[in-house]
C-alpha cells in the first residue's frame, strides 16, 4: 500500500544482510534550533557514497553501537551526492548520544527505507506543504525538488509552524525559497518581542489560502494532532482524500517489516509508509490509541 513511488529501486542492496549497517562519519553538525541539529553524514565507502540514492521523504536507520538505532528522515537535496543531512531533535537514548558526537565521529547507517512524497504525481498541480516543528525536515527534499522543477507545479505554499520563533527550522533558507517561487507562510504558538508574523497553529494558515481544490495536492508532516486538524482544513475546502499525503510516525525498530512495532492498522509504517494517502489512513487516524 505504498502511497507513492515504490522504494524498491532505492532500497539497500539485497546481497548483504538487511541488518548490516554501512559505516559513516559525521561531516558536519549545524545547530538549527534548541535541541535540534542537522548532521551531515558521509558514507565511508566511496563507491556507495556516489551511488547512494534516496527519494524525498525516505529515512535511514542511524546506528550508534551500544545505544541502538533511530529512524531519521533525510532532510537534504536528493540530487546532491555526498553527505546526507539528517535533522534530528534530541529525544531518546540514541539522539541524546548523537548530540554528544562531534564531526569525524563514526556511526552506522542502514537505508534508505520507506515510501516517498509523490512529487511526480503532483506535477501540474498546486501544492500545499503543511508541517509543524521538526516535521519540516522530511519535506525539505520536496522543497528542493520544487525549486529545481518550479515549472512543473502551480502555486506552492509552505505552511509551517513551530512553538516559538527560535524553534523554526532552516530560517536562513526562507528567502531563497521565496525567491524560487514558494509562498512561505510561518506561524508560531508563542511569539517573542521581535516576532512580527502570524501567531497560532498551522491550520490557521489555511485562512489565507485561495484553494483550487480539484487541482491541489497536500503533503503534511508533524505531530499527529496537527496533521488531523490540517487534514480537516483541507477536507473543509473540498480536497479529495487521495490528494492528501501524510508522513506517519510509529515506533520503528527494524525498518524491514519484521519487528511489528510500527503497525498502523494494515500498514507497516516502515515499509508501506511513512508517506500514506489520507484515503489509506482515514479509518484509523481518529481512533484513540490505535
Amino acid at each position: 500500500m505504498t502511497a507513492s513511488q515504490s522504494s524498491t529501486s532505492h532500497g539497500p542492496a539485497r546481497s548483504t544482510s538487511p541488518w548490516m549497517p554501512h559505516l559513516a562519519r559525521i561531516a558536519s553538525v549545524k545547530h538549527e534550533a534548541p535541541g535540534i541539529a542537522t548532521y551531515r553524514l558521509e558514507l565511508e565507502d566511496a563507491a556507495l557514497r556516489s551511488t547512494f540514492q534516496f527519494l524525498p521523504g525516505q529515512f535511514n536507520m542511524l546506528y550508534l553501537p551500544g545505544f541502538g538505532e533511530s529512524a531519521i528522515s533525510i532532510s537534504t537535496d536528493p540530487q546532491l551526492r555526498g553527505a546526507l543531512g539528517h535533522t534530528i531533535r534530541v529525544a531518546g537514548n540514541v539522539t541524546q548520544a548523537l548530540a554528544r558526537m562531534k564531526p569525524g565521529a563514526q556511526l552506522g547507517l542502514r537505508g534508505p527505507f520507506g515510501s516517498s512524497w509523490p512529487v511526480e504525481a503532483c506535477r501540474g498541480c498546486d501544492l500545499i506543504i503543511a508541517c509543524g516543528g521538526v516535521g519540516l525536515a522530511p519535506l525539505r527534499p520536496v522543497i528542493y525538488h520544487v525549486l529545481r522543477h518550479r515549472g512543473d507545479f502551480g502555486r506552492v505554499h509552505l505552511l509551517y509552524g513551530a512553538r516559538t520563533p527560535g524553534d523554526l527550522l532552516f530560517t536562513d533558507e526562507y528567502d531563497a525559497w521565496r525567491g524560487g517561487g514558494i509562498e512561505v507562510n510561518v506561524t508560531v504558538d508563542l511569539g517573542d518581542e521581535n516576532w512580527q508574523g502570524q501567531i497560532g497553529v498551522v491550520p490557521v494558515l489555511f485562512q489565507r489560502l485561495r484553494l483550487n481544490a480539484p487541482n491541489t495536492r497536500m503533503m503534511t508532516c508533524g505531530p499527529e494532532i496537527m496533521m488531523r486538524f490540517v487534514v480537516h482544513e483541507a477536507l473543509t475546502r473540498k480536497m479529495r482524500h487521495e490528494h492528501i499525503y501524510l508522513s506517519m510516525e510509529r515506533n520503528m525498530n527494524c525498518a524491514l517489516g519484521f519487528c511489528g512495532h510500527c503497525q498502523l492498522g494494515p500498514a507497516f509504517v516502515c515499509k508501506d509508509g511513512p508517506v500514506f494517502t489520507y484515503q489509506q489512513m482515514e479509518p484509523y487516524l481518529n481512533v484513540e490509541n490505535f
Partner: protein, 388 residues
C-alpha cells in the same frame, strides 16, 4: 535389496518401534532431532534421541486457562495435541544475536552473525503448526526483505508431521482450514494406527530417509485407515462445535470461529465496547503472543561489555501487550490494555490478511489455553459479531 528412495506421495508402514530407526537415520545424517516430551507438567518440544522418551500413553486436557496431562492406557504416541511451544521456537528463537560491533583504535567494525549451521529435524509437528510456519515464511522470507537468520534455519529444517487423531477443546483448525489433516509442507507425515504408523512421503529427502528404515508396503486397508483418521476427527470437531453453539455453555466445548468477513468485522468495530470489557479481564501479560506460533514481533537490543567496545545486537521476542511496543518519544500509542488487546486481535485476525494475504491465526488454541484468565479469542469475536 531395499529401494534407495521412496517416491513423493507414497505411503508405507512402519512398525511402532521402527520410529527409533527413523530417529537414528536422521541423526546419522547429521540432524539434531527434536520431538515432544514431558517437562514441567506439559508436553514440549526438546532434543530427543530415544523413542522411550516420547509421551506414549499421555493425553492433554486443554481449556481456557487450563492445561493438564493425564495417562490413558489407550493413548498412542501422539494423542496429545499442541503444547506451549511450537516450530517458532526453532526457526525464530526467543533470543538470538544478529550483529556484532567491535571498536578497535576508535574504528568500528561490524559483522552479521550467522545462526549455527546445524540441520534440525522436528518430529510430531501438527497441521496447524505447519500452517503457522508457512505464515511466518511470508513475514521473514516473502516480503521486500529476507531475514538471513530465519532463512538459514528454515532451509535446514526437516519436518516429520503427525495427523491428529484427537482434538483439544481449544482446537479450532477446522474453522481456520488449517487442519486437522496434514496436507503439505512436510517431509514425512505419520498417521498412528493400532499397531503401526502409516508414513507418507512429502519430499525427496523424506523419501530417502524413510527408505533406509525397515518399511513394509501399506495394505489398502491400512492406507484407507490412515486417510480416514484426520477426516473422522474433522467431522467430530465440526459436530462438537455445532453442538457447543447450540448449547449455551462455550467453555469445555469444541471451539470454532466464524471467519466470515472477519477482516471488516474487526477493523470496522475499533470502538466496540467489547474491547474495554475484555480489557477488564486481560492482564496484558503477553502469554498469548509468546505461545502463538505466528506472532513475530521482536525487538533488537544492544548488549554491550563494560568498555562499550564490544556490542552485540540481540533480537528477542516482543509483545504488543507491553507499553514499550508502541512507545515513541511522544509516549505509547497503545496506552490502555483495551488498545493493546485490540491491536493483537485485529492484527491476528484482520490486518494480517491485508499484510500477508492469510490469517494470522491457525486455530491451534494455544492463546486460549495459556491465557492465565482464560480469555478466548473465539468468544471475543463472537461477542463482537453479536453486538456489531
Amino acid at each position: 535389496m531395499p529401494a534407495r528412495t521412496l517416491p513423493l506421495g507414497c505411503s508405507v508402514v512402519l512398525a511402532k518401534d521402527e520410529l527409533q530407526t527413523l530417529i537414528d537415520r536422521l541423526r546419522q545424517r547429521g540432524y539434531r532431532t527434536v520431538a515432544p516430551q514431558v517437562a514441567d507438567g506439559a508436553i514440549i518440544y526438546d532434543d530427543l534421541d530415544r523413542i522411550d522418551r516420547l509421551p506414549l500413553g499421555m493425553l492433554d486436557e486443554q481449556d481456557g486457562g487450563r492445561y493438564r496431562l493425564r495417562r490413558d492406557a489407550n493413548a498412542g504416541y501422539f494423542d496429545y495435541v499442541v503444547g506451549p511451544n511450537s516450530l517458532k521456537n526453532y526457526v525464530f528463537p526467543p533470543r538470538e544475536p544478529l550483529l556484532e560491533a567491535q571498536r578497535k583504535d576508535g574504528q568500528w567494525e561490524m559483522q552479521t552473525i550467522e545462526p549455527p549451521a546445524e540441520r534440525l529435524a522436528v518430529i510430531g509437528v501438527r497441521s496447524c503448526d505447519l500452517h503457522a510456519l508457512a505464515v511466518q515464511d511470508r513475514v521473514f522470507l516473502e516480503g521486500p526483505y529476507v531475514d538471513p537468520a530465519y532463512k538459514a534455519r528454515r532451509e535446514r529444517l526437516l519436518l516429520v508431521a503427525v495427523n491428529c487423531r484427537r482434538a483439544a477443546a481449544t482446537c479450532f483448525c477446522h474453522s481456520m482450514k488449517t487442519g486437522p489433516a496434514v496436507k503439505s509442507g512436510f517431509d514425512l507425515a505419520l498417521t498412528e494406527l493400532e499397531d503401526s504408523f502409516v508414513v507418507e512421503v512429502g519430499s525427496e529427502r523424506g523419501g530417502e530417509i524413510l527408505a533406509e528404515c525397515d518399511w513394509i508396503p501399506a495394505t489398502s486397508q491400512q492406507a484407507q485407515q490412515a486417510q480416514e483418521t484426520p477426516r473422522r476427527l474433522a467431522r467430530q470437531m465440526a459436530e462438537r462445535a455445532t453442538a457447543a453453539e447450540e448449547g449455551a455453555n462455550r467453555s469445555s466445548a469444541q471451539r470454532s470461529l466464524d471467519t466470515k468477513d472477519i477482516r471488516d468485522l474487526l477493523l470496522g468495530n475499533l470502538e466496540h465496547p467489547r474491547w474495554q470489557e475484555v480489557a477488564e479481564r486481560c492482564l496484558a501479560c503477553g502469554n498469548c503472543t509468546l505461545v502463538c506460533p505466528t506472532c513475530f514481533c521482536s525487538v533488537v537490543e544492544e548488549v554491550s561489555d563494560l568498555t562499550g567496545d564490544h556490542v552485540t545486537r540481540e533480537r528477542s521476542w516482543a509483545s504488543c501487550f507491553t507499553a514499550d511496543h508502541s512507545y515513541m518519544n511522544s509516549g505509547a500509542v497503545h496506552k490502555s490494555t483495551a488498545s493493546r488487546y485490540r491491536q493483537w486481535l485485529t492484527h491476528k485476525l484482520a490486518s494480517w490478511i491485508d499484510q500477508f494475504d492469510v490469517s494470522g491465526c491457525v486455530g491451534c488454541g494455544r492463546c486460549i489455553t495459556w491465557c492465565p484468565v482464560g480469555i478466548d479469542l473465539t468468544e471475543e469475536v463472537a461477542a463482537i459479531r453479536e453486538e456489531a
